[in-house]
Amino acid sequence: MYGRAAGPLPAKESNLRGVHYQLTLANGLTVVAEHLPAVRSAAFQFIVPAGAVTDPDGQEGAATVLEGLSYRGAGDRDARTLSNALDALGMHRGGGAELEYSTFGGALLADDLERALELYADIIQRPHLPATQLPAERALALQKLQRLEDSPAEKMFVHLRSAYYRNGYGRTALGTADGLNALTPEIVQADHDSRYRPGGAILAIAGRFNWSSLNATLQRLFGGWEGAAPPTPAPDTTGRTRYLHLQQDTNQEQIGIVYPAVTLDDADYYSMRMGVEILSGGMASRLFSEVREKRGLCYTVRAFHQNVKGAGAILAYAGTTPERCQETLDVTLAEIRRLEEGVTEEELARARTGLLSSLVMQSEAARSRALSIGRDQFLLGRMRTMDEIRRAVESVTPDSILDHLRRHPARDFTVVTLGPKELEVSP
């Protein structure tokens, strides 16, 4: 299917394409699932529509505190009994509050999937949210915020986001000290009642499972859940900051760049995406090769596309010592601009092979598939199949990338630097 040569031990054709299932409950909860017959595990992720974007004004960080409190007792289990029940299933927990939503889930052996879903049905629908535990959860959130001061790269990205987006999309789930301190047990309970709702929620599952049994279990566990979360505002980038420097006595200067790009549902998406791969896919890509390999300017340099619902952006990052940071920024911006002078067929072929092969390798692991199909459902309202992605990637040509860049040239950069030195940003 992917131009596989006649190998001695061919993989089964069915393995290359997981079977997809979709189910929307009457209350609006959407379930997307990909069956992967070759794995022994299953992974799942609930997307609950409570993220930093919809934290009420003045309560920034509410989603983080609510997510943390959800594990401090739920259903008929107290915090310890609940935690022990998850551990007894060998559940590897993931999740947390994010910009656009909060996630709950993880991965475990396939046979225990439905038992784990039972526990999460309680955590999401029936958490105790004990008032006595709010001070501890708040203390954790305040410490995470404080930890940014010892994490220069992460701190730069927080400021890059707020310099670029004007509304709630400029926040991060970390919140603010004022917002966290404003939370009361009543506010947290009301927040759960408002945002932890099936309307707008998604459950993504990947791995080995029995769909008809799963279907019945999900109806039983989540059929009685009611309501819909409040609507999410559209991202707003008007009047954004052009350059912001944060003075800090660090060893390396942190450099962040962001500029507008098309979204996943745009006809130009795959041409844009292949352009970004050529810029920063493998180690032969332009940024790595020009900034690190040829000039030795830094250890890390990369660019990537980031999609929020309703807006796309390309972000670039480099970290380097003060004596090399101006050149690092200049070369990085020059490489981003140079893309519109054209790409070669060889570069495109490498980018294509890299993307398609990572797609196949990703399908060997349930966890990465659950995250991917959940994100697809959130952004597109449907799962993309592997075939669809392959066809779209193969249809990109050097000309389609150029056409795309003529329509959407890399311009209007927002730059944030954090470190010992303020830089000159060429327009």
């Binding site: 131009g3 060998g90 475990l108 410490q143 390396q252 090769s289 030795g296 092979t353 890299g354 390798m361």
Partner: protein, 409 residues
């Protein structure tokens, strides 16, 4: 699954675990060399050399190396630790031959002086990068404190001074001693063709000369220590812990892992309930790390600076209680379950499996099927846990605090 192995005439060992169901294959050269094998005047050479191997040889330029990896859509990288340097890549099966050609070619680098000088900048940047991460500094420092001059306490990155002073010819002579074929193991996992791999590697490594690459393995004698590194530029208290464990060759390593998980393996561990749940620390971890002829429990916590003493005292309290009263049977059962499912999740892709197959061989010259490894964890008994803790390893705890701290006791 089928295990295959062969030692070539030049001493190069090739092993593999075939999984015909896999969609990809992974291959990696495991080189038995790392920071512990360095003389102090070349501190950091193993890691710098790891970067230099990607600069190619007379057959390939640095650009060729990167380009060829990308052309086969490889997911590839390398890392250096105190004990090993590993170069690995994952590809779809049709790219097996170019991947093996390239990885094998990397083992015989030119170490050109202009590449060496350029890459030195990148290494210095990497050192600067980690200096801005107090968590890494704390773990590095606690290691050197605990090992008190033992080679296992040596820094992987080296220092700005040692890297600046390093000469190309020093690196070459280190490479000559440490990258002999009998000090390398090529490991394959996933969907690969064994006969093809073997004949390819045999012809590519023809003429490689074996040599002695000895490793000094002395026992360490840990003593309890507390050390504070005061740094007012840091905002949080970064606390690191080490206590003696068991080696990668010890049959007790499964017991040690279970104990590490119960005490500090994330949510639900004893340290979690003692420190995270009440909001005293925002991060805590503890795990057992088995090494060549040695082993230790390594832990880390971060908290507000004014809570540092309380966090250290409470962590110590958790260790003391475990040694005095032992661990409960239900905790042991849950930990076994967690470790077993973690193994399956990690090893069900060829790229994850590569490291277990490779390190099992490196440390013990044995092949352990995944289900056998799981069974060994599941076989741990409360009695084994009790007798391990009865030796009171945490009485020899080394504690390090980094941040705006004046003292710790």
């Amino acid at each position: 699954m089928r295990f295959v192995q062969k030692v070539l005439d030049n001493g190069l060992t090739v092993i593999g675990e075939q999984n015909p169901e896999a969609l990809s294959l992974s291959a990696g050269y495991f080189v038995k060399t790392g920071a512990r094998d360095e003389a102090l005047d070349v501190s950091g050479v193993s890691h710098f050399l790891e970067h230099m191997l990607f600069k190619g040889n007379e057959n390939r330029s640095a650009e060729d190396v990167n380009r060829v990896f990308d052309e086969m859509g490889a997911d590839y990288n390398a890392f250096t630790s105190e004990e090993y340097t590993v170069y690995y890549g994952s590809v779809l099966p049709e790219h097996q031959t170019p991947l093996l050609d390239l990885l094998t070619d990397l083992m015989r680098p030119s170490l050109r002086t202009d590449d060496f000088d350029m890459e030195k900048n990148v290494i210095l940047e990497e050192i600067a990068l980690y200096k801005d991460k107090p968590q890494f500094t704390a773990i590095d420092e606690v290691r050197s404190t605990y090992f008190r001059g033992h080679p296992l306490g040596q820094s992987v990155l080296g220092t700005t001074e040692s890297i600046t002073a390093l000469q190309r010819d020093q690196m070459y002579s280190y490479w000559e001693r440490r990258y002999a074929p009998n000090n390398l193991v090529l490991t394959l996992t996933g969907n690969f063709d064994w006969d093809e791999a073997l004949s390819r590697v045999k012809s590519l490594s023809h003429g490689w000369k074996p040599t002695d690459s000895p490793r000094a393995k002395t026992e360490i004698a840990p003593i309890p220590q507390v050390r504070v590194i005061k740094d007012e530029k840091i905002h949080r208290a970064h606390l690191a812990f080490v206590a003696p464990g068991v080696s990668a060759q010890s049959d007790e390593r499964f017991v040690a892992s279970i104990i590490g998980d119960i005490l500090g393996g994330g949510e639900g561990s004893r340290l979690y309930w003692e420190l995270i749940e009440p909001g005293l620390a925002d991060s805590i971890s503890l795990g057992h790390d088995e090494e060549d002829g040695s082993g230790a429990f390594f832990g880390y916590a971060s908290c507000d600076p004014d809570k540092a003493q309380m966090v250290v005292d409470k962590a110590r309290g958790v260790f003391l209680k475990a040694m005095d009263e032992g661990l409960r049977d239900d905790e042991i059962e849950r930990a076994k379950r967690k470790v077993a499912s973690a193994l399956v999740l990690h090893d069900e892709i060829p790229r994850g499996r590569l490291f277990h197959v490779g390190f099992d061989w490196q440390y013990r010259e044995e092949y352990t099927p995944l289900d056998t490894a799981i069974d060994r964890y599941l076989a741990v008994t409360p009695e084994e846990v009790r007798s391990f803790l009865a030796r009171r390893p945490f009485d020899l705890l080394t504690v390090l605090g980094l941040g705006p701290l004046s003292e710790l006791s």
